[in-house]
């Protein structure tokens, strides 16, 4: 899967599944402060990511993921390493 495709799919899932307002989506958006994604939403993201990208997110790897850009890069890295 190409990087742009991955980013597009992540955005689509955030809008459809987590119901984030499309207007808020931007790479520099802070996941918690701007997008309102809290710890419980992360639990749901684990499920959504595994169902859509075929890998398991790990709670230990989330501490450095603060902005949406960080999340894109994390998913891209995990997809390519699988």
């Amino acid at each position: 899967m190409q990087n742009e495709e991955i980013i597009k799919r992540i955005n689509q899932l955030l809008i459809e599944e987590i119901e984030i307002d499309e207007v808020q989506i931007s790479p520099s958006a802070d996941l918690k402060k701007d997008l309102g994604i809290d710890s419980l939403d992360f639990v749901d993201l684990f499920v959504i990511i595994e169902n859509n990208f075929g890998f398991k997110m790990k709670a230990e790897e989330m501490s450095d993921i603060k902005k949406l850009d960080d999340f894109y890069n994390y998913v891209i890295r995990r997809v390519h390493s699988n």
Binding site: I18, E19, D41, V43, F46, K56
Partner: protein, 407 residues
């Protein structure tokens, strides 16, 4: 001791999605029972059930508020919205005052089944998601609604089997009477799905009159053959008389007695003494004589033993005054954890609209039920005060006495 009044009600029932629809159904004697082919395919002995339309709350509640809310929480949310509107209680009031919630619920089977099914299939709890734990707990309704409505008062769920909703109102009455709270959202909720009733069907307790679903629930009738499971949610706003008057609320009625007891005998077979004790206590608390009760909303679920014992108990106390009696379960089926609260809503609608709803399907009495003054048709009349019974597994009994407000 404070006086306790009802200032709002709301309902999401198999006989109507709001008070207006329910009032009409009660007056017309309309049934909400169907035959569900899915239950038959699954292997149920009885495929009869009450049915409601699944609410659509997307657009009304944000995702976080919906994710942890099971289906009976959705029913309770809608019933509570109607009740709060009815009571004229808005977000500003709830910000200034610590409103509490005491809701009746005694199961949340479907979310448990679904989450464990995911675990068995995926062998990974990380695939279960964030909502199921909150959906799975018995306290799911009070838990979720207190967050959605930002309640800051008393907050828990009352589980007393088929008397849950009634006990929730009873305990709410005691808390307000004691002066610990001024407003409490009380009610009862019941999930409707095969997963929660399969083990109940295993007791051979349900009616198998599957060829005539709307005639299957026939409390007190000689040819009754079992109950029909049902569900939904009902909310009743309890308030201190002083608070209601202070804010100019419309008072729908006054709760004057709550009586309770336990049978101390069989886990599922009812007796006579327990219900008699609960009814007597409620009348004593109300400072009323049996003759002050114009209508009894019976528990009667359309079981052979249960209806008989309740008829004997009612006759023991009310044999002289013979108030009108009906079981609205004839129309709704057995709403279980919701029943005690919904039957207060149904009785309040009758009291405020001057009629007694029929005990439909009452074609022939038996020896015990012949002693009662059963309304087999709608009867336009005045109700000064009514008594509502709810009894449950484990021999838990609840009786509530409510009367018209007299200032």
């Amino acid at each position: 001791m404070n006086r306790v009044v009802i200032t709002g009600m709301g309902i999401y029932s198999v006989i109507g999605k709001n008070l207006g629809e329910v009032k009409n159904s009660l007056y017309e004697g309309k049934s909400g029972i169907i035959f569900d082919p899915v239950r038959k395919e699954m292997g149920f002995r009885s495929a009869l059930t009450g049915i409601v339309e699944r609410p659509v709350l997307k657009g009304f509640l944000d995702r976080r508020m919906r994710v942890g809310l099971p289906v009976q929480g959705e029913y309770a949310y809608l019933a509570t919205i109607e009740a709060l509107n009815n009571a004229g209680i808005d977000a500003a009031f709830m910000e200034r005052n610590a409103v509490g919630i005491l809701y009746g619920n005694d199961s949340s089977a479907l979310p448990v089944v679904e989450s464990v099914d995911i675990l068995r299939k995926k062998k990974d709890t990380m695939m279960i998601g964030s909502g199921y734990i909150f959906q799975s707990m018995n306290s799911t309704v009070s838990m979720n609604l207190s967050v959605i409505f930002k309640f800051r008062g008393i907050n828990f769920t009352i589980s007393g089997a088929c008397a849950s909703g009634s006990h929730a109102i009873g305990i709410g009455y005691l808390v307000i009477r004691q002066g610990l709270q001024e407003v409490i959202v009380c009610g009862g909720a019941q999930e409707i799905n095969p997963e929660s009733t399969a083990s109940f069907d295993a007791l051979n307790a349900f009616s198998i009159r599957e060829s005539e679903p709307q005639k299957a629930s026939r409390p007190f009738d000689r040819d009754r053959d079992g109950l029909v499971p049902s569900g939904g949610a009902a909310t009743v706003i309890l308030e201190s008389y002083e608070s209601a008057v202070r804010r100019g609320a419309t008072i729908l009625g006054e709760i004057v007695g709550y009586g309770f007891s336990s049978n101390g005998e069989h886990i599922s077979l009812p007796n006579v003494d327990g219900p008699v004790a609960a009814m007597q206590l409620s009348l004593k608390e109300a400072g009323m004589d049996a003759s002050g009760i114009d209508y009894i909303n019976a528990h009667a679920t359309s079981t052979i033993a249960g209806d008989e014992n309740e008829a004997i108990a009612i006759d023991q106390i009310f044999g002289k005054s013979r108030p009108l009696v009906s079981s609205t379960k004839s129309m709704t089926g057995h709403e279980m954890w919701m029943g005690g609260a919904s039957e207060i809503v149904y009785s309040m609608l009758m009291m405020n609209h001057h009629f007694v709803a029929p005990n439909i399907n009452f074609d022939n009495p038996d020896e015990a039920t012949a002693r009662l003054n059963i309304a087999s048709h709608t009867i336009p009349c005045e109700i000064r005060a009514f008594l509502s019974n709810s009894f449950g597994f484990g021999g838990t009994n609840s009786s509530l006495v409510i009367r018209k407000i007299n200032g």
